[in-house]
Symmetry: C2
Subunit: 325 residues, 2 copies
C-alpha cells in the first residue's frame, strides 16, 4: 500500500507516520511506500524498510497535486495547512494553502482515471463560531469566525461533494484542541492549555492567562493520530453522506487540568503555574466552543482519552520517556 501524508513535517504528520511505520500497515494491508510532502522536507521515518519519497513544495502550484498522486496512492492523509493565526494575518496565503491547495488535490484526483483513493482530511473545531449552545451537536451549523475556520469549512463541503460524486472515499475529522502539544511554547492564544502541563512537567514555569473556570475540549496527539487511522478504516456505508465529523475529546476546566497535574506529578510541579491574567487571551478564548457532543464519532468508534489524567499520562509516556522533572 502506498500512503501519502501532506503536512508530513508537522507535529501530527510526524507522529502519524511514525505510528504507521510501527503498525507496519493500515487497514490490515502492509505499507510499502510513503510519500511525505510539506513546505519543508519531512524527515525520513526511522525503521521503515519500504520506499519513501520526500516532496517539498506548494500543493496549489500548477502540476504539484497531479505529480503527488501520479502513482495513485491508495490512501491520502491531507493534513497540510496554514495555521489559524497565520491565515488570519495573511489572507492570501491562508486561502492559497488551505483552500486552493485542498481543491487542487481534489481536482487532481477527479481528473485521474480509474482512481478512487481513501482521503482523510483534518478539519478543526474552528469551523464553529459563537454563540454556542451548551454542547455543540453534530447538526450544528458552521459559522466560523476566522478565515482559517472558513477555509476548513469550505474544504469540508468540497470533500463531501467529491465524495458524493464518487471521485474518492472521503472523511473529514474536526480535531479538538490538541493537548499536550509537545515542543516549545508558541504564541497561539490556545498555547497555555498545553503550556500549563508541559512546562511544569519539564521543570519550568508556565503562565496561565485565563481564569481556572475556563472550560475547553482536548485530545492528546496520540488520540489525534488514532482518529486519523480509525477514519481511514471507515467505509462509505458506515459514514453515509455526512462524512465530516466532530471528534471526541476530554471536556474539562483549567482547574480540572491543574488537578490532574497535581494528582499525577504532585503539588510542587503544579506550583510552577503562575497566574497572569491577559485580557486579550481571555477575550479570544471566550469565543471558543467549550463542549462538543461528538455523538456520531463515538458511534463510529472514534476514541479519545476518558479524562484529563490520561492526557497528562500520555504526554509523560510519549514525550518525557516516563520521567517528570
Amino acid at each position: 500500500m502506498h500512503v501519502v501524508v501532506t503536512g508530513a513535517a508537522g507535529m501530527i504528520g510526524r507522529k502519524l507516520t511514525a505510528r504507521l511505520v510501527k503498525d507496519g500497515g493500515l487497514n490490515g494491508k502492509p505499507i510499502d511506500k510513503f510519500t511525505l510532502t510539506d513546505v519543508v522536507a519531512a524527515d525520513k521515518p526511522a525503521g521503515f524498510a519500504g520506499k519513501v519519497d520526500i516532496v517539498t513544495g506548494d500543493l496549489a502550484a500548477p502540476g504539484a497535486a497531479e505529480k503527488l498522486i501520479a502513482e495513485k496512492p491508495e490512501v491520502i492523509f491531507h493534513l497540510a495547512g496554514v495555521v489559524s493565526g497565520e491565515a488570519e494575518i495573511d489572507f492570501d496565503k491562508g486561502y492559497h494553502v488551505n483552500l486552493d491547495g485542498t481543491r487542487a488535490l481534489l481536482e487532481a484526483i477527479r481528473h485521474s482515471e480509474n482512481y478512487h483513493p481513501k482521503f482523510i482530511f483534518t478539519s478543526s473545531i474552528a469551523v464553529y463560531g459563537a454563540p454556542f449552545p451548551h454542547a455543540i451537536p453534530d447538526d450544528f451549523h458552521l459559522t466560523p469566525l476566522t478565515s482559517y475556520g472558513t477555509q476548513k469549512a469550505i474544504s469540508e463541503l468540497l470533500l463531501a461533494d467529491y465524495n458524493r460524486r464518487g471521485f474518492l472515499d472521503g472523511v473529514g475529522i474536526r480535531l479538538p484542541t490538541i493537548c499536550v502539544r509537545p515542543g516549545k511554547p508558541n504564541k497561539a492564544a490556545s498555547g497555555f492549555f498545553s503550556g500549563i502541563i508541559r512546562e511544569p512537567l519539564a521543570g519550568q514555569e508556565a503562565i496561565l492567562p485565563v481564569a481556572d473556570t475556563v472550560r475547553h475540549t482536548h485530545a492528546s496527539p496520540r488520540s489525534a493520530v488514532g482518529f486519523l487511522i480509525h477514519a481511514a478504516s471507515l467505509t462509505r456505508e458506515q459514514l453515509g453522506p455526512r462524512i465530516n465529523l466532530a471528534m471526541p475529546g476530554v471536556c474539562c476546566t483549567v482547574a480540572e487540568q491543574i488537578e490532574s497535574l497535581t494528582r499525577i506529578a504532585g503539588p510542587k510541579v503544579a506550583a510552577r503555574i503562575k497566574r497572569q491574567p491577559d485580557e486579550l487571551v481571555m477575550r479570544i478564548v471566550a469565543g471558543w466552543s467549550e463542549r462538543i457532543d461528538a455523538k456520531r464519532a463515538a458511534e463510529l468508534g472514534f476514541k479519545a482519552e476518558k479524562d484529563f489524567d490520561e492526557i497528562v499520562k500520555a504526554h509523560i509516556e510519549d514525550e518525557l520517556g516516563g520521567k517528570i522533572a
Copy 2:
C-alpha cells in the same frame, strides 16, 4: 446610486430591476445607474431615465469582475448562477460559475481601494440536505446533496468571511422554492409546484407527478424581490456575524395548493390538474426540506405571503393582468 445586478437576464433579475425602477431608488436614495450583467444581454429596463450598462460575459473570466466594479457601485445584487440541474450534470461549469464567479467578484471588491459595497447574494435552500428535523432551525448545519447546494454553501462561507474582514457589507438569502414561477414549463424536478397553478390558470392541463400529501415551502417571485430589497436595507449591526439567512415562505401540502387554486379560480380550473405519478420525481422530492423555521429572517422583518391563496393571487395580478383563462 449605482446598482449592479448579476444574473440580470434571469426571472428574478428582471423582476428586481423592474421593481427598483418603479420604486425610483433603494434605501431612500435615487438610483442613477444600473449595470446589468448576465451571460446573455439583459433587456434595458423600461421607464428608467438614468444610465444603463448592459454587460455580457463570464464573471470568472480574467478581469471581468474588476471591470464590473471599476466605478464602485454602491450596491451589488449577485444573482448569477448555473441552476441546480445544470450544475449537477456539468461539474466544471457549476464550480466555474457558481464558485469561481462569486469568488472573483469578492476578490475584485477586496482589491479595490476604499471600496465597501453592500453585497446581496442569493443562496438557496439547496444548502440543506436530508435527513431533516421536523422544521429546519436557523442553526441547522449545511450538508448539501447537490453540487449546486455545495457551491451556494461555499459562497455563503466566503461572503461571511469577507464581511467579517470588513471588505464589504454582505448578506446572503436562502430562497425557498419560487412559486408560481412564470413562463413555460421546464424540466426541473420542482417544476410541478408552479405548473399545477400556472397551467390551469392559463387554460392548460398540468401534470402532478407526486402525492397530494407532499409538503413544501414556497414564496412568490414578488416576495423574492421583496427579500432582496429588504436585505439591502439591513445594517451590519442588525445582521451580526451570521449574515446568511433562510427566508420565510408558505409551508403547505400539494393538496392545500390545489385547495387554494379551487377557492380562487373554481373547480373547473383545478380539474385541469392530471395526476400522473412519476417515481423519479417522487424520489427527488422526498429528499427536499419540507418546513423551514426562518425565525431570524422573520425577526429581521423579511416577509413572505401569509398563505398559498396570496401566492396564487400574486401570480394572477403580476402575470395574468388579473384574468383567469
